[in-house]
C-alpha cells in the first residue's frame, strides 16, 4: 500500500514536472490531464504545442466547461496535423498559420496547392487567406485568389498591400466578394503550370 502510494506520488510528480506551468496554475486537474494528453500527442507527432496551450488558456479565461476546452484543443491539434500534412512539412510558423486557416474554413487542399505554387515560406500568404475569410470573403474565393497571386510571383509585401486595399474597400461599404474581385481585376488569370 505504502509502496503503491509512493509510486503514484512519484508518477504524479513526474507528470507535474513535465506539464507547462501556465496550465498547472490555471486549469483544474481534470481538464489539465485531458489537455496534457493532447499536448503529449502533439509532442509525439512533433507538432507545436504553444497554440494548444494558448487554446486551453483561452477556454479557461472564458470559463468554458472542461469538455469544450478539451474539444477545442483536440480540434486545433487535428488542424495542426492536417496543415502539416497539406504543406508537406513546413516551418512551425507555416504549420500554425495553416491550422488557423483550416480552423477558419480554408480547405486543406488549398494549402497543398499553395505549397506546389511556392517553395518559399507560406506563412504570410496563408495568414492573408485567413484574414480575408475573417473579413467575410468565402474560403474558396480567398484561397483561389491568394493561390493565383502566389502563382504569378507576387511577394508577401504585395499580398499584404492587397489585403489592406480589400480592407479599405470593405470599410467603405463594398461587399467582401466584390472588393476581392475589384482588386483582382488587373491580375493575370493564368500563371505557370503547377508541378505534379
Amino acid at each position: 500500500m505504502r509502496f503503491g502510494l509512493a509510486a503514484a506520488f512519484l508518477l504524479w510528480a513526474g507528470l507535474a514536472e513535465a506539464q507547462d506551468p501556465r496550465l498547472t496554475e490555471r486549469l483544474g486537474p481534470g481538464v489539465l490531464q485531458a489537455v496534457q494528453l493532447q499536448i503529449d500527442s502533439a509532442n509525439h507527432d512533433q507538432l507545436p504545442a504553444g497554440p494548444l496551450i494558448r487554446k486551453a488558456l483561452e477556454g479557461q479565461s472564458k470559463r468554458a466547461d472542461s469538455a469544450r476546452i478539451v474539444g477545442a484543443v483536440r480540434a486545433l491539434r487535428l488542424a495542426l496535423a492536417g496543415a502539416r500534412l497539406a504543406l508537406g512539412g513546413g516551418s512551425e510558423e507555416e504549420v500554425i498559420a495553416g491550422a488557423n486557416a483550416i480552423r477558419a474554413g480554408v480547405p486543406a487542399l488549398a494549402l497543398q496547392r499553395l505549397r506546389r505554387a511556392r517553395a518559399a515560406s507560406l506563412s504570410t500568404p496563408i495568414d492573408v487567406m485567413t484574414d480575408l475569410v475573417a473579413r467575410g470573403v468565402e474560403p474558396s474565393d480567398a484561397s483561389s485568389a491568394v493561390e493565383r497571386l502566389v502563382r504569378i510571383g507576387r511577394n508577401d509585401r504585395e499580398l499584404i498591400r492587397l489585403r489592406e486595399q480589400i480592407d479599405q474597400d470593405i470599410r467603405s461599404g463594398l461587399d467582401p466578394r466584390a472588393a476581392l474581385e475589384r482588386r483582382l481585376a488587373g491580375v493575370p488569370a493564368a500563371g505557370p503550370p503547377i508541378p505534379p
Binding site: 479565461s61 468554458a64 469544450r68
Partner: protein
C-alpha cells in the same frame, strides 16, 4: 430513502438553464469510524457519481464503496433515470426507473428495481410532486466466513446442518408526496412517504436563506414513533464552506439520542475540493444501523461542471479600433470615450486580461512586441462581457463567442 426521494425531487427542480449538463463527481475519503455495537477502525471510502441532465430527461448513477479495518467492506450502487414529458407549462410527468444494490461483507445483500412515475407541478414559488415506486426487491443473507456451520442442533441429539444463508424476493410499492413553498427568503418543505409494509415517514422543515452566503435550516423528521429535530447552518463563498448541524431524537426513552455534524471544504482548484467532516449520526432504526461516530477527510473531484460561457455581445456604440505597427512594436488603440476601464486578452497575453492605458480623446492603448502572424483577441469594457474589438475581422471561437482576428505583418 427519504433523502433519495428528496434528492430526486431536487434534481428535477434544477432550472431550465442548467439543462443538458453532465457532471462526474469522485469523492475519495479516509477517516475513522466507531459505533456502539462494534469495534472502531479506520475507513477508506470511494464515491463516484455521474449526473446527466438533458432537456427531456436525466440520469443519476452513483456508487459508494467503504472499506474498514473492523467491518470489512460495504457498497451501494444506485441509478435513477427518467424521461420527462411536459403536460403543460407547469405540469410535468416523469417516467423512469430506479435500481439499487447494497451489500456488506458480513451481512445481507439487497437488490431493488422499480418503475417510478412522478407528477410534478411547478409555479415558481410553489412546487409539488407526487409519485409512486412499483418494483421488486431481492434480499439475500450471506454467511460470515469466520462463522462455522453448527454440526448439531441445540439438543445435540440429532445432527442436522443449519445454513444461515437464505434469500427471498418480493414486490413492493411506495408512495410519496413532496412540496416546497417559497416566500421570499423563507421556504417551507415537507414530504410524506408511505410503503405497503406500514412504514411511514414524515419530513417537514423550514429553510431560511437570508441571501448568500448564509443558509439556515430546521427540520422535523418523524418515522414510526419517534421525532428527529435537526437544526443546521452553513456559510460558504466560492472557495471555502463551513456547515454544521445538531440533531435531537425525541420519543420514548430508548429512542432518545443526540447527533451532530461538522464539515468544511476548500476549493483548491477549479475541479478539486478538499473536504473534512466529523460527527455522530443518529441510529437508523428502520434498517438496523446503530449510531456511529465518524471523522473523515478527502478529495472531491468534479469533471465537466459547466460554468457560464462567454456570450457574444455587440461592441458598445462609439468604439473604434486601430492597429499601428512600428518595427516590431504593435500599438493597439481602442476608442471608447464612455468607458472607465478597457481590458484586452488574447494569444499575446496568454489569455490573461490586461488593462489598456487611457489616453487623451477617449483612446485606450496597449503596445506590445509581436512577431508577424495571426492573433486572436477579445476586449471588454468596464468589466462587461468579452467581445471582438470593433473594426477587426471576427471569427467564432469554440466557446460560444467570437474573437477578433489581428494580422500582424
Amino acid at each position: 430513502m427519504i433523502r433519495r426521494l428528496v434528492g430526486l425531487w431536487l434534481l428535477a427542480a434544477i432550472p431550465e438553464q442548467l439543462a443538458a449538463q453532465r457532471w462526474i463527481l469522485l469523492d475519495a475519503g479516509a477517516g475513522s469510524s466507531s459505533h456502539q455495537l462494534g469495534p472502531s477502525g479506520s475507513v477508506l471510502s470511494l464515491s463516484p457519481r455521474l449526473l446527466w441532465l438533458g432537456r427531456h430527461g436525466y440520469l443519476d448513477a452513483g456508487a459508494v464503496y467503504t472499506r474498514g479495518t473492523a467491518l470489512g467492506w460495504n457498497a451501494a450502487l444506485s441509478a435513477t433515470a427518467a424521461v420527462q414529458f411536459p403536460l403543460s407549462s407547469r405540469l410535468t410527468l416523469d417516467l423512469g426507473g430506479e435500481w439499487d444494490w447494497t451489500g456488506h461483507r458480513h451481512s445481507k445483500r439487497t437488490n431493488e428495481l422499480s418503475l417510478r412515475p412522478v407528477l410534478r407541478f411547478d409555479r415558481g414559488d410553489l412546487r409539488l410532486s407526487a409519485g409512486l415506486a412499483l418494483g421488486r426487491a431481492a434480499l439475500a443473507t450471506v454467511a460470515e466466513a469466520s462463522e462455522p456451520l453448527p454440526a448439531t442442533d441445540s439438543t445435540g441429539s440429532s445432527p442436522r446442518p443449519v445454513d444461515p444463508r437464505y434469500s427471498e424476493s418480493r414486490s413492493f410499492s411506495r408512495g410519496m408526496v413532496e412540496g416546497t413553498l417559497q416566500l421570499g427568503s423563507f421556504g417551507l418543505q415537507g414530504s410524506i412517504t408511505h410503503t405497503q409494509f406500514s412504514q411511514r415517514a414524515l419530513r417537514a422543515g423550514a429553510i431560511w436563506s437570508p441571501g448568500a452566503p448564509g443558509v439556515d435550516t430546521l427540520f422535523k423528521h418523524y418515522v414510526n414513533g419517534y421525532d428527529d429535530l435537526r437544526f443546521g447552518a452553513g456559510w460558504s463563498n466560492p472557495v471555502f464552506s463551513v456547515a454544521g448541524a445538531l440533531e435531537q431524537r425525541l420519543g420514548r426513552r430508548e429512542f432518545r439520542m443526540r447527533g451532530w455534524h461538522l464539515e468544511s471544504s476548500a476549493r483548491i482548484s477549479g475541479d478539486l475540493v478538499l473536504f473534512a467532516a466529523t460527527g455522530k449520526t443518529l441510529s437508523r432504526l428502520t434498517v438496523d444501523l446503530p449510531a456511529r461516530s465518524y471523522t473523515t477527510a478527502g478529495l472531491r473531484w468534479t469533471i465537466g461542471a459547466r460554468r457560464p460561457a462567454v456570450t457574444p455581445a455587440p461592441p458598445p456604440a462609439g468604439t473604434e479600433t486601430r492597429v499601428e505597427r512600428a518595427g516590431t512594436m504593435v500599438r493597439l488603440a481602442l476608442h471608447a470615450p464612455a468607458a472607465a476601464q478597457v481590458e484586452v486578452m488574447g494569444d499575446f497575453t496568454e489569455w490573461e486580461p490586461v488593462p489598456l492605458m487611457q489616453q487623451a480623446g477617449g483612446w485606450w492603448v496597449l503596445t506590445r512586441v509581436l512577431p508577424p502572424g495571426i492573433y486572436h483577441l477579445n476586449v471588454r469594457y468596464d468589466g462587461g462581457p468579452w467581445q471582438a474589438p470593433a473594426d477587426l475581422p471576427t471569427q467564432a471561437d469554440e466557446f460560444g463567442g467570437t474573437v477578433g482576428v489581428l494580422l500582424v505583418n
